[in-house]
Amino acid sequence: MNTHIAKLGKKTRMSDKPKTDRLWLDIRRDRYLYLLALPGILYFIVFKYVPMWGVVIAFQDYSPYLGMLQSKWVGFEHFVRFFSNPDFMILFRNTMMISLLNLLFFFPLPIVLSLLLNEVTHHAFKRTIQSIVYLPHFLSWVIIVGITFLLLSQSSGIVNMILQWLGFSSYDFLTNKDTFWMLLTFQNIWKETGWGTIIILAAITAVDPQLYEAAKIDGASRLRQTWHITLPAIRNVIIVLLILRLGHIMDVGFEQIFLMMNGAVTDVADVFETYVYRNGIQNGQFSYSTAVGLFKSIIGLILVIAANKLAKKLGEEGVY
């Protein structure tokens, strides 16, 4: 008995001890570590895993009174209803258009801005500009949409005041279907371009300075150095960012759209989440809207996994 305790005290792993005993002893030894992890583990179970299991209501006629266990199972009925609904194509089109416009107009800008910043030799100037352009990232969409409304309002916004002062007629920015997607893109550009430069600038900093020295000796201009050294060096980072972006093509700035949405632009503004919110939370169609959300999540999951596979194949570290 005494030797037994001594062995435990030394935490030696005896091959003759049954496995379950050892496991129990290890758990006992680390009980405070488990205690530390407990609130976090509970959080992930209750707020991440229970909802993951909760998506089964997409296959039910869920009623809050009956609860998940008593509600009737209906199979894929809600999915069939969603796919045969004209809303489906509208949501899909809006999501794709907003994403593609962002890809086309927003995506290249951090790269361009990084290259411009990289050419700046005046250190304080560079730091100042960086400080300024990073700031909007931290502002909430409510603030940014609010400022947009204040500046672009047709009746009182300064932009329309200037247009009128210059002799143009005022322009309806906020309730205009034709320019709604572009407006979203511009907001995104204003908010996130600076932030996007951080990763690109980091990649540029990692370029071996000797390459530039060699190019200088060969008489290459700054432009040529950018073209032949900087761009090829950061090409991989750009490709990976692009792939990851494509993996998230179903994710549009939902808070932004929710805030920018109004009766006049619903047609072009409605995306999966706003639709889920309206039908689920506001109209109480829990099962139907869960099915819509689940469809989006599954497509998103497949795209993210595919994007990661691709990124890893290119020799870069993926998302997970």
């Binding site: 496991l23 290890d26 680390d30 405070y32 570590l33 530390l36 992890a37 609130p39 976090g40 583990i41 959080y43 992930f44 209750v46 707020f47 991440k48 229970v50 909802p51 993951m52 909760g54 998506v55 209501i57 801005l113 411009l116 050419e119 005046h122 500009i129 400080s131 990073y134 700031l135 931290f138 969409w141 409510v142 603030i143 949409v145 609010g146 400022i147 204040l150 300064i158 906020l174 204003w190 600076g194 951080i198 201009s221 700054r222 960012l241 808070e255 929710f258 805030l259 109004n262 889920v276 919110y277 309206r278 939370i281 506001q282 809207s289 959300g293 689940l294 999540s297 999951l301 997970y320």
Partner: protein, 293 residues
């Protein structure tokens, strides 16, 4: 080294373009700040063409601080950004530390389970039903508990704790400290810079809390600042209407431009004050986090 004319032109153009970008970024914020301090009569006279007010006025701010709706909402947001941040930091650091100890049984399993939560998003409705079942609807806690921690932050903080040498921990153990004692007395103080960085990011997220409140708070007395701001700024007629409806607009007269702008300034101010500290830390954060988001 002497520069060619082309290169000098390029540099001049580059500085001009970058300055322009800086101005375009700052101008909306500057304009909002200036108008918020402008006398409402001067604002009306100049039709909004104000780059620098001649008559300064703090009337808009005085008005806002006299309305209970705004002050209460600011208090809710402050509560979230302080208590919420503190709770999030403790919970995140505790599980991250626990998972960083390689001897822990089941560590790999828990880690994988945490990472999986990042891949699949169950949408809006299932979490909403969970919050509802827990009876958190209309409670400020519904704005904290469902976002208490996140897989990213756990993983990031864990990789930070991985670098704390086991020897330090062992030394504390020999002195009779338990794992919990070690965590609070050795690990947390050693990780202060990281905690500050994570705390800043949590604080900004809590201060900017908006959509959770749309979902979970119907009682107008408990909404955070972003909701009040939305109701003030985004015209009620063009609003999509959230759970926290547009009661405020009917409750009082529709705010004038200067009042709206003052509201923007007040809600932006804490972020701007934190910004220098944020800036010190975010490069690390981006490299590890945002890109992977």
């Amino acid at each position: 080294m002497k520069q060619s004319i082309g290169s000098r032109l390029f540099h001049a153009a580059n500085y001009a373009v970058l300055s322009l970008i800086g101005i375009v970024t700052l101008f909306p914020l500057y304009y909002v700040l200036v108008v918020s301090f402008t006398d409402s009569r001067e604002y009306a006279e100049k039709n909004g063409f104000i780059l620098f007010p001649t008559n300064w006025s703090t009337a808009a701010y005085e008005y806002l601080f006299s309305t209970s709706a705004f002050v209460d909402a600011a208090a809710v947001s402050t509560f979230l950004a302080t208590i919420g941040t503190a709770l999030s930091l403790i919970v995140t650091a505790a599980i991250a530390f626990s998972l960083s100890r390689k001897r822990l049984r089941g560590r790999q399993f828990i880690l994988v389970a945490v990472v999986l939560t990042l891949l699949f998003n169950p949408g809006i409705i299932p979490p909403y039903l969970v919050v509802k079942e827990l009876g958190l609807i209309n409670s400020v806690w519904s704005l904290i508990i469902p976002v208490l921690t996140s897989g990213w932050y756990v993983i990031l903080m864990k990789s930070f704790f991985d670098n704390i040498p086991v020897e330090l921990e062992e030394a504390a153990m020999i002195d009779g400290s338990s794992d919990i004692g070690t965590f609070f007395r050795i690990v947390l103080p050693l990780s202060l810079p990281a905690l500050v960085a994570f705390g800043l990011f949590y604080a900004v997220a809590y201060w900017n809390t908006f959509f959770s409140a749309v979902l979970y708070i119907n009682d107008y007395a408990k909404v955070p600042l972003q909701i009040v701001l939305r109701n003030m700024l985004v015209d009620s007629s063009t609003s999509t209407g959230g759970a926290a409806a547009v009661e405020m607009v009917s409750e009082q007269q529709i705010p004038t431009q200067t009042i709206k702008m003052a509201a923007v300034v007040i809600s932006t101010l804490p972020i701007v004050c934190l910004y220098p500290f944020l800036q010190k830390h975010f490069t690390k954060g981006v490299m590890l986090g945002s890109v992977k988001g």
